[in-house]
Amino acid sequence: MADIESTCASLRAQILATEAQLDGLKRDLANAEKASKSRASPAADEHKEQNDNHEGRRWPLLPEEYRRYGRQMIVSQVGLEGDCLVSGKEAKTTRQLKLRSAKVLLVGAGGLGCPAAQYLAGAGVGTIGLIDGDTVESSNLHRQVLHRTKNVGKYKVDSAIESLQELNPHPTYIPHRTHLTPDEAPTIFENYDYILDCTDNPATRYLISDTAVLLGKTLVSASALRTEGQLMVLNNPPQPAGDPEGGPCYRCVFPKPPPADSVVSCADGGIMGPVVGTMGVLQALEAIKVITAPYPIKAAAGIPAPARESPSLLIFSAYSNPQFRSIRLRSRRSNCAVCSANATVTLNTIMSGSTDYVFFCGSASLPSLLGPEERISPEEYRQKHPGSAAGRGSTMIDVREKAQFGICNLVNSINIPISNILASSSKKSQGQESDQPPELPSWIPPEVANSESDDPIYVVCRLGNDSQIAVKRLKELGLDRDGRRYIGDIRGGFRAWREQVDPDWPQY
């Protein structure tokens, strides 16, 4: 009997303790919700926050914030007192508050944007905006570390914010589910203090830089491809156009865009996750450095900005030694179209469309090089040459790069990477008599070069562009024997092959 009574007493005590704990949790939650609301609408609640910070509380940060950010706050570069704008007034306080009052916009929620946002959120940047019109794809997941497999198909900004909220519920996250367009860029940028360029194409990079300069925002710009990355802090300090003390902008460094056909995307060139991740993390670091810099962000009129690090370009190359290299960059260009006294680009020309970024950067032209009789669809090919292997009664040349050929290839197909074809001189016979047969370049394998056969040659690639270039080159070299031997390409490449002939073909 005594046993049962003591069990009951113990249970009653446990219930009481648990109820007390529950009450405590509810109180904590109410406080946290109040705090997060007052941060969600900063304009309306500035006054309230000030009360919270200075009247209701002894310390400027919440207890949870001290615990959360303590490890970075004991680093002097972040924790030391500095001049901060607190509720519109300058005050000397911990620079952690600078992070909390900072509003940072990340353009792009992909390979750069994900790690950058992750570290900025972790560090306690108060307002983080993300702009991206894309949805999550499986091929993003190896590097875009905020997105989860279950979120494939969801807007990247929503997927990212979901992860960020789990990481740190304190900041305000603002999703912009759209691609950045010139007519909207100034309105969106206006609400932020700092801009991170985490995009993937030149036209958007110029748009971001121009808008950031004209609105006086410092810009942290990064890019990556394959095994390399680049990083620049631009418009730092963000002096008005015409002030040579301001930092150079993207146009100062690259006044003219690269030819469109020299621009390679991650989808075409490939990208290693940790490479682009490194660059995104470095962007977050540079942003934190700029935000917590120990001098006023904007130099007051008449007072020169304190000397800063000279502008530089950081180059990362995963397979080089050393991996990192910092290059001194020029200062502002005196004839820059945006940040000089002779500027021609203004917010008006951007928003009205008279500064035309698509025209400025051009678009890679992929004209059909071959006539319809030189092309064959995967389906037609399969009808002409049934059976799973290539090579019976015809030759199949696969011009994808070696690494791609290694992923999947047709049995009996011959791999001649397009880079080998393009890299060799097209001059046929240097210094030879014209009556001699032209010497074939070394990239043509002997079984093709020495063949007496008139069996057709088919050329295939990933999407059906490189294959056309290769067909043209093979014909220029005379392998079609004045038309006796058919040379053509598989229209649409292996993407079409997968759709029309072999649904099991790996889609990479």
């Binding site: 944007g113 993937d200 890019s223 491809l225 370009l313 180059i315 190359s317 001194r328």
Partner: protein, 113 residues
């Protein structure tokens, strides 16, 4: 003899040239090249970056796609030229006179992200 103009072996300078950002593909997939140039050109002047560009295109670059490296006798837009780790615009651009041991880097801008 202090005068090095005697003999039949003309004085030369040696520099290193590096290609990154994908440009190495145009140069036999080699990132680093050691280039030997005459210390004095036939007109008595020193070789400049302009001269180096011409030399690279004529003697080092085997790839046909010259337009991915030069346009209108200068590097194409989107390529930064670095002279001893500084933007060439700090050093006089294509008129910079090459010195023994210089390190010249050609960087193609990346756009992926």
């Amino acid at each position: 003899m202090a005068d090095s103009t005697n003999g039949n072996s003309a004085a030369t300078i040696s520099i290193t040239v590096e290609f990154t950002g994908g440009l190495e593909i145009l140069f036999s997939n080699e990132r680093e090249h050691t280039i030997t140039l005459p210390a004095r050109l036939s007109d008595g002047s020193q070789p400049t970056i302009s001269y180096l560009l011409q030399h690279l295109v004529e003697h080092v670059m085997k790839d046909d796609r010259k337009g991915l490296f030069i346009m209108e006798d200068n590097v194409r837009p989107g390529i930064l030229v670095l002279i001893n780790d500084a933007d060439w615009e700090l050093e006089g651009e294509e008129n910079y006179e090459l010195q023994q041991g210089d390190n010249i880097v050609f960087v193609s801008t990346l756009h992926g992200g």
